[in-house]
């Protein structure tokens, strides 16, 4: 017979990316900590552990949530999605392809959180405008990209999800064409 759960420890069955796992962890640990430490899902990152940077964003029942502000025990009975669940088999999600191709992931550290927040947005509105994307992602900080490639990638993925085959304009990859008078000079 197993011994009772010691005080300060919880045992919970978490459903992450459609798979159930039963884990024991300190009751005060956040979903972020349990995902990374007990479940080994290190794709979810941390930048502040205070709910300030958006890096640890995961989806809970389809909604973006800062996993550093949610206790793991609170996630029991809910569907948790992390970056590891984004691809289908070996096939990347359109957001993932677009981010990879446009260099929207530079250091890649904020990327999992931004991908998850973007997934929630596009699930609601795949035709989201640039302004709507910026608002939806405004809680996620990125220090590398200047956000431009991220916006272009989310727009591209949105178009793909709408069934359009419309890669971003040439300017996104090559820069703006030089003004005519400059080329002549």
């Amino acid at each position: 017979m197993s011994s009772p759960v010691p005080p300060g420890t919880s045992v919970a069955t978490l459903r992450v990316n459609g798979e159930e796992r039963t884990v024991a962890f300190p009751t005060h640990h956040t979903l972020l900590e349990v995902l990374r430490e007990e479940l080994g899902l290190t794709g979810t990152k941390h930048g502040c552990e205070l709910g300030e940077c958006g890096t640890c964003t995961v989806l809970v029942d389809g909604k973006p949530v800062l996993s550093c502000l949610v206790l793991a025990v609170e996630a029991e009975g809910h569907a948790v999605e992390t970056v590891e669940g984004l691809q289908q088999g070996n096939q990347l999600h359109p957001l993932q392809s677009a981010f990879a191709d446009l260099g929207a992931a530079q250091c890649g550290y904020c990327t999992p959180g931004i991908l998850m927040a973007s997934k929630a947005l596009l699930a609601e509105n795949p035709a989201a405008s640039r302004e709507q994307i910026a608002v939806a992602l405004s809680g996620n900080l990125c220090r590398c990209t200047g956000y431009q490639k991220i916006l272009e990638a989310v727009e591209w993925a949105g178009r793909t999800l709408c069934g359009e085959n419309a890669p971003p304009a040439r300017e996104c990859s090559f820069g703006a064409p030089l003004p005519e008078e400059v080329q002549r000079g």
Partner: protein, 848 residues
């Protein structure tokens, strides 16, 4: 959607026409998916804190809560009795000093006698869990005897005792520099008018998204491996060997991909060394991941710089002479500070022709987290000064600010007054692109009140010409291994910090061998396995590693070509390497697939391997201090920004940025775009809001000097909502020193952002804010001054009075100089002792 393995389809795809020319470029110049792209979007990239090992324990540091004090006693007895606690380290366990520069080995892994800033680490604790280590860290008692605290440059200059360090050029002045290039007074005498400005650039920090983390693992053979989020594994390797007193061959450093660096992970750090020591003591893996607050204490960010420019101009806007003075607030340790000090003067000469130039500088120690290299390293501050200064002068002389720059441009292939050799310069085209793109000529000065345009330029190194410590060895090395599978393994010590260096390495090798990116396997940033590369700093990797990769790949190509030539009986010079084949250019059907060609070469020569290495060309400067500034190539940028200012409140918004950057040759244009946009963003943050500033607690609460806001919420940085529209132009003026002509792009485009914004605010509402950040309340204050009929300006008034002694005098090339100082011996300025100077002297001695 069909997945693309490397090259983009659609708009970015390779034009068909290029395929027809067998020798055409395959990869270089084409946007391709970064080789680490897939790992980064699937969560598979392993950052340092993602690692864990069997029996791994956790470490925390106890950091000083006072800014300047002697350590009287450390009591760990209560903490030692707490559950899970395994071991402690204190300063005397690691008595050897370390530091990034040989000239300032002034750090201990843990403080021994004295603490120098709030956040200086004193004790390391290991416990079974991180929670236990944290709880124990709260139970450690450290008794301090407080010393007088030095908060600013002015205080440091005025207070020689107590000294924060027992070494320095003078009291709490860490470093003092004075150099004069050419007959300055003659230059001022030739001027029609002389202009002066005093400006301030407040400090700010890198704020990488990833907190620094280290895992130290004792290996089964008694050696130790240190995995860390570092931009400079080679320098960390050297520091570990020094402090741990182990042969370097028994230490292996592996730099994990960095979750952002920007210069903030370029120093060897206390926590890295303490983790290694703890792992050796316990005989088990030890992990430490800093909290976000601790990252603010590690800092090494932008130095606060007060500066004064005095420049003589002809009426047509040409410069005759300039005297620049800078004062840097260095914080509590040396870090890269001696180099930073020189960098606040070195690159003033590479954009606009400056026939005579004097540069004086001091770097002071203060009781704050140490400053160091942040993107642009020491050059954004004087660049801000120069570009605002020029804008003001242009207005006063009635010259268009674009023209005053165009009329002063340094010519390609010249040697500047301070003996920097400049190669290609695409700055003219950069200025023309942003001027035309923004409608500058038609719109500047003519927009409605509150709306304005500002212009500025910049330049940056493509790698520092000299290594951190003096040596004759390559600054970057690449090794290739080829075999019958067709797989090419490339080994290089370079470190991927997000800038795309892995992709440049793979791209260049694939280009030369005519194969695909997926044929290349990389092994990087591992001091056991990879040839030394000095690290990801000074924008050096594309140029230096790129040249080493080019050489290694060309040698591999030569081997394969010899073997294939013999087998096919086709002259070697007719062989083409493209599309994973080696074939006869006169009869493309006659050829071998790439794996067949490898079989052929391996059969002919045995095991296949080549190396490539890179050492930059020697710089013509021969004076003390000439080691900072030289680079194999300089990148150039120009920007125009458009702002909308509310004249009532001073609140403003940057609406549009036009940025042109001369990258020499874009190896991968889509990653070049990413670097330009990222630099625009970071410069915007520095101009608008970012600042690493401190306040004093009340006297009755210890009088401590504490960080105002060591959190991501309160350290303001731009979000998606603050980003303006960015129009980027990639300008390519190839430099013969760069691989395929490539120069840097990671840092240069940041430089002109701050002055362009300040200049745009002047165009919009006619006021000057001569300090960074340009806070809206400062704009409002300047507007109030204007309304009262006073000088419509906010900013510092005066530069402190400092005796710089007799400057080192170096005749310019135009004066017939030879790159040496004429008064090396009598120059009264102290240039410190140690390697920054020594290595230059040694270089002169051995290479002359």
């Amino acid at each position: 959607m069909a997945e693309r393995s490397e090259k983009q389809d659609g708009a970015a795809a390779k034009p068909e026409a290029a395929r027809e020319i067998a020798v055409a470029r395959n990869i270089v110049g084409t946007p391709y998916r970064r080789v680490d792209g897939r790992a980064k979007v699937t969560g598979q990239t392993r950052f340092a804190d993602d690692l864990s090992f069997p029996r791994m324990v956790h470490m925390r540091l106890v950091r000083s809560i006072v800014p300047h004090a002697r350590i009287v006693s450390i009591d760990t007895s209560k903490a030692a009795a707490m559950p899970g606690v395994l071991a402690f380290l204190v300063g005397k366990d690691m008595p050897n000093t370390f530091g990034i520069l040989p000239v300032s080995q002034d750090e201990h892994a843990l403080c021994i006698d004295k603490v120098r800033f709030v956040g200086d680490p004193v004790v390391a604790i290991a416990a079974l869990t991180d929670d236990q280590a944290y709880e124990a860290s709260l139970a450690v008692r450290v008794e301090y005897e407080s010393l007088e605290t030095i908060a600013t440059v002015e205080e440091a200059i005025a207070t020689s005792e107590p000294r924060i360090h027992d070494y320095s050029d003078e009291g709490n002045i860490h470093k003092k520099v004075s150099m004069q290039f050419g007959e300055l007074e003659e230059g001022f005498a030739e001027a029609d008018e002389i202009f002066e400005d005093v400006l301030l650039f407040e400090g700010n920090t890198h704020l990488p998204m990833e907190q620094h983390a280290t895992v130290a693992v004792p290996e089964d053979d008694g050696r130790i491996t240190v995995w860390s989020s570092t931009q400079t594994p080679h320098y960390l390797h050297r520091s570990l060997a020094k402090v741990l007193e182990l042969p370097a061959s028994r230490i292996r450093v592996i730099a994990c991909p960095n979750g952002g660096g920007f210069g903030g992970k370029s120093d060897p750090f206390n926590h890295e060394i303490a983790a290694a020591k703890m792992a050796l003591r316990l005989g088990r893996p030890v992990k430490i991941c800093l909290t976000r607050e601790e990252v603010f204490y590690c800092h090494r960010g932008r130095h606060p710089v007060l500066m004064k420019l005095r420049t003589g101009f002809k009426r047509d806007g040409r410069m005759t002479a300039q005297h620049l003075q800078t004062a840097l607030d260095g914080g509590a340790y040396g870090s890269y500070g001696v180099a930073s000090t020189y960098y606040t003067g070195a690159l003033q000469t590479v954009t606009y022709e400056l026939p005579r130039y004097r540069f004086d500088s001091v770097r002071c120690f203060t009781n704050k987290p140490p400053c160091g290299p942040k993107r642009g390293h020491g050059t954004p501050q004087p660049r801000f000064g120069l570009e605002v200064h020029l804008d003001k002068v242009a207005v006063k002389l009635g010259i268009d600010p674009a023209d005053i720059r165009l009329n002063n441009l340094v010519q390609p292939n010249t040697i500047t007054a301070n003996w920097l050799k400049v190669g290609s310069i695409g700055l003219k085209k950069c200025i023309e692109a942003v001027v035309a793109g923004s409608g500058w000529r038609e719109r500047r000065g003519k927009l409605p009140h509150g709306r304005g345009l500002g212009l500025a330029c910049g330049s940056y190194l493509s790698g520092a010409g000299l290594p951190i410590y003096w040596n004759h060895m390559p600054q970057s090395g690449v090794q290739l291994k080829l075999d019958r599978s067709g797989c090419v393994a490339a080994f290089c010590g370079q470190t991927e910090i997000g800038q795309g260096s892995d992709s440049v390495l793979a791209g260049i090798v694939a280009e030369v061998l005519g194969i695909e990116l997926l044929d290349i396997r990389l092994c990087v940033a591992d001091t056991d396995l990879t040839p030394v590369d000095l690290g990801s700093y000074s924008s050096r990797v594309t140029l230096m590693m790129g040249n080493a990769a080019l050489q290694a790949a060309q040698r591999a190509r030569e081997l394969v070509a010899r073997a294939v030539s013999e087998q096919l009986k086709v002259p070697q010079d007719r062989l083409v390497f493209a599309e994973r084949r080696v074939f006869d250019s006169e009869d493309p059907s006659k050829g071998l697939s790439w794996p067949e060609a490898c079989v052929c070469a391996e059969s002919r020569f045995g095991t296949l391997g080549t190396t490539g290495s890179y050492i930059p060309p020697r710089s013509p400067g021969r004076y003390r201090g000439a080691g900072v500034g030289p680079s194999p190539a300089y990148s150039y940028s120009a920007t125009v920004v458009e702002v909308e200012v509310d004249p009532e409140t001073g609140l403003y918004r940057v609406e549009h940025v036009w940025m042109a950057h001369d990258v020499g040759k874009a190896i991968n244009p889509v990653l070049v775009m990413g670097q330009i946009e990222g630099s625009v963003y970071m410069g915007l943050g520095e101009a608008l809001m970012e600042e690493q500033v401190f306040r004093r607690l009340p006297k009755n609460r210890s009088n401590a000097l504490v960080h105002k806001h060591p959190s991501m919420l309160e350290y303001k940085s731009p979000t998606f909502l603050e980003m303006p529209k960015v129009t980027s132009y990639i300008i390519e003026d190839p430099d013969p020193n760069g691989p395929f002509g490539a120069k840097e792009v990671g840092q240069g485009p940041l430089l002109p952002m701050m002055p362009a914004i300040a200049n745009a605010i002047f165009d919009a509402v006619g006021v000057r804010v001569d300090q960074i950040p340009v806070h809206p309340h400062l704009v409002a204050k300047a507007l109030e001054e204007k309304a009262r009929g006073k000088e419509p300006r906010v900013g510092p008034r005066a530069f402190p009075s400092i005796d710089f002694g007799t400057p080192l005098r170096v005749p310019t090339p135009a004066e017939g100089g030879d790159g040496q100082a004429v008064n090396q011996d009598e120059a009264k300025v102290r240039t410190g002792t140690g390697t920054m100077t020594e290595r230059e002297e040694a270089l002169r001695g051995t290479k002359r």
